[in-house]
């Protein structure tokens, strides 16, 4: 139990350090870094590696944005089993919908209430 937290901290922190190095050393914009992470997550999941990382690190792997690539691919593959090629398009947002929907909803509500402070 305690170790779950420790590994989540270490793995999650390490993923952020990779991002920081991409920002500082390679002078990428945040948008480039995040896009790369999502693609990396999908590629790792293509080799079934991301699930292993999640088993090991829990939230340390599900909270970084790379897990978005993983859930996109997972949803797509689940539907592909039932519906073939068409299923990929049907399922792609299936598992990630909670994240996207809540980001849109909360973003919208916050924008209704708060003014930017500058």
């Amino acid at each position: 139990m305690i170790m779950d937290f420790v590994w989540a901290f270490i793995v999650g922190g390490a993923i952020c350090v990779i991002g920081q190095l991409l920002l500082d050393l390679f002078k990428l914009t945040p948008a480039h870094v995040l896009s790369s992470f999502v693609v990396a997550g999908a590629v790792l999941d293509g080799f079934n590696l991301y699930d292993r990382l999640i088993e090991f690190a829990g939230a340390g792997a599900t909270v970084p944005i790379s897990s978005f690539g993983h859930t996109l691919l997972h949803g797509a593959m689940a539907q592909a089993e039932d519906h073939g090629f068409v299923g990929i398009a049907i399922g792609i947002f299936q598992l990630s919908s909670a994240g996207i929907a809540s980001a849109i909803l909360f973003g919208f509500i916050v924008a209704l209430i708060f003014k930017p402070k500058g």
Partner: protein, 336 residues
């Protein structure tokens, strides 16, 4: 009258009758906080949107300038103004309520001196009797247009500058007064292939050096003949580069150089490399420098406002950043 290659000397006598500066709250806390005529207590300046806040800054600076110069609005023949926003909206919308001819100028952060040079030349030539030069910038409108939303959590590098929230205005006319606009050196566009929009000091340093050197050549002067050579917003990154570049041309400005961007904020105000924006040279020159010229602490100052002429769209298309700098000489007139 033209002197040398790029310098206009105003032989007929052009004088600054009055000037005014207005800032936001953060500038008020800076080292020059006491020199501003008015500082708004919040960034919105009592308006709904950032854009209208910037208009409020510019309006206020023009009103205060006219008040201090004791000139009525309709006595002004020409308004020369510019800012950072697309289509120069701040100046255009402020000019909507201004009953005089209007010339809109864009020189990015060099706009303050570009406007003053044009206004002075119009007065010198007799095309206008009374002309007003003004400019403005606002932290949040600039962030929104050139960078990210203000609440976005991206990390800013140490080379980045912070746009000054403020506006400045100066009224020029022929009637003798305590500060004379002696000459102006109009810069050319210089591009040394710098392409980092988050490091504008490096991009602008060659333009600043080019204009300073050209000015000294045209006027056949040495840096020591000025009490101060003031650049706009080279910041802590561009300042040493500009000094080095002018030194390479045989002019050592080390002892007389100051940078407005390094004067407006305290080092603990989290502004990274310093202040920037159209307003930075305006609020320093039209406040602090004018006061020192009046009191006699300064006699002759060359103000070189520097501008990075970048557009986020073109920079994303991998273009480099062209830059420009315009210099204006302000001189104390004794016995007036």
């Amino acid at each position: 009258m033209k002197q040398g290659k790029q310098t206009w000397v105003f032989d007929n006598g052009v004088y600054i009758k009055g000037s005014a500066t207005v800032t936001g709250p953060r500038e008020k806390q800076g080292p020059l906080g006491q020199t501003y005529d008015y500082s708004f207590e919040d960034l919105y300046c009592g308006e709904d949107t950032w854009e209208r806040a910037e208009q409020a800054l510019l309006n206020k600076s023009i009103d205060l300038c006219l008040q201090k110069a004791k000139v009525r609005k309709d006595a002004v023949d020409l308004l020369v103004s510019g800012d950072l926003l697309n289509q120069n909206v701040t100046s255009n919308y402020v000019a909507r309520d201004f009953p005089s001819s209007f010339l809109c100028v864009f020189g990015a952060c060099s706009t303050s001196m570009e406007a003053l040079a044009i206004a002075s030349s119009q007065v010198d030539s007799g095309n206008s009797d009374v002309a007003l030069a003004s400019t403005s910038s606002h932290y949040s409108t600039a962030e929104r247009q050139f960078r990210y939303p203000t609440e976005y959590g991206g990390q800013k590098p140490d080379t980045q500058t912070s746009t000054v929230t403020g506006a400045g205005a100066a009224l020029v006319q022929k009637e003798r007064s305590f500060v004379q606009v002696e000459a102006a050196t109009i810069g050319k566009v210089v591009d040394f292939s710098a392409n980092d929009p988050l490091d504008m000091g490096s991009a602008m340093a060659p333009a600043a050096a080019d204009t300073i050197v050209q000015h000294l050549k045209d006027m056949n002067r040495q840096p020591e003949e000025y009490d101060m050579i003031l650049t706009g917003d080279l910041s802590s990154v561009g300042t040493p580069i500009a000094k080095k570049l002018t030194y390479q041309f045989g002019y050592d400005i080390e002892n007389v150089h100051r940078d407005c961007g390094l004067m407006v904020y305290n080092s603990n105000q989290n502004v990274f490399a310093g202040g920037s924006g159209c307003a930075v040279s305006a609020v320093v020159s039209y406040g602090h420098i004018m006061q020192q010229l009046r009191s006699g602490e300064l006699n002759k100052v060359l103000i070189v406002a520097t501008g990075a002429l970048l557009s986020p769209t073109i920079v994303q298309q991998k273009e480099t950043i062209p830059c420009i700098a315009h210099g204006v000489v302000l001189k104390r007139v004794s016995g007036s």
